[in-house]
Amino acid sequence: MDFVDYYKILGIKKDASEKDIKKAYRKLARKYHPDLNPGDAKAEQKFKQINEAHEVLGNPENRKKYDKYGKDWMHGEEYEKARQQQQQQRQAYQQQSGGFTGGGSQGFSEGDFSDFFESMFGGRGATGGRSSQFKGQDLRAELQLNLTDVFQTQKQVLTINGEKIRLTIPAGIEDGQTIKIKGKGAPGMNNGPNGDLFIEFNIVNNTDFKRDGQHLYKTIDLDLYTALLGGELTVDTFDGKVKLKIAPETENETKVRLSGKGFPVYKKEGSFGDLIITYQIKIPKNLSEKEKALFKELQKLR
């Protein structure tokens, strides 16, 4: 367990007055407060440190104890006892939260305190700190799905804090998109509304298609002879095969747009984007003597 220098965290001298402490805390809080830095984990971590420093130095009793014993706060009996308690608390919390994390602007109010703080002051902030939320805490979760999973609308049942939540995932959801499930976060206080549950989708492309919103892209190799003379080609689309006619004298990088063969449009049932196919003409390699002779003959005709 490392010693935490709260004076250093707040950037103040050991003999700082209560007013100086408050001023330093407010100045740093205005910079790192999670409400002002949404989604910034580093700022949130920094704010937790600042908050902890303020819990200690902003309270005369805590400050006195910290000044007296802080440096020498070692692995005593008291520390061990506190550590065990803290472990039990953590286990209980993990079971309760079921892998979901409190997040967003409200998560910090339940912020972790360092081992050093918890062993010295025994758990949550001794001064009471900020007032509790009226609205329940928002919960955040990440759900990873394959691109093939989100081609069709699907239903899933998630279990959060023992409660089953039916979730409809509309076809065509984007990577990084978040769905808000109202009122499925932590319960509110004093009849305040429940928090919300935010599920962020992490869509892994497990196909050889490239996706840009509702449109899909694919590059198809085309042999030189088919490109020159034309022909037919069977191509895999996302949900089946299609036969394509190749026009004679097709150029390299020619693009073909297959209307309605792309990805479903989010929340527009039955509406699909396009599949854009790019032909990449492959030049034959390791020509035989006969092939070379024939190509030379063709060259002379040009």
């Binding site: 002002l36 949404p38 989604g39 007032s131 009226f134 004093n190 919300d196």
Partner: protein, 100 residues
């Protein structure tokens, strides 16, 4: 407007120990909406999260009403820029992969 989704501003003010004038001032600058029903003032539960943020800024960070308005405008601008950046990153990644 369904009454069940409305919260008496008094409840929030009691919970957070703030004066009702604070919420009325936020309403007067257009930052929050107050609904009047049966001569009582309510806010919609959808807006409680935002209002709590404003209360934290006011109480914890000492930011005044005008400051809160500026901060929220800038946060909104930041959110839009982040969205735009994420979209551009996605497009760049797409074109990079396509030109390999």
């Amino acid at each position: 407007m369904e009454k069940q989704n409305l919260i008496l501003i008094q409840s929030i003010c009691v919970h957070y120990d703030i004066d009702q004038s604070f919420l009325r001032e936020l309403h007067s600058i257009g930052r929050i909406e107050i609904y009047f029903l049966e001569e009582k003032e309510f806010i919609h539960e959808e807006h409680v999260g935002e209002i709590e943020k404003m209360i934290r800024m006011y109480k914890d960070l000492n930011v005044n009403i005008e400051g809160i308005d500026v901060v929220f405008n800038m946060l909104e601008k930041e959110r839009q820029l982040k969205e735009e950046l994420a979209d551009l990153k996605r497009q760049l990644q797409f074109y990079r992969e396509n030109t390999k």
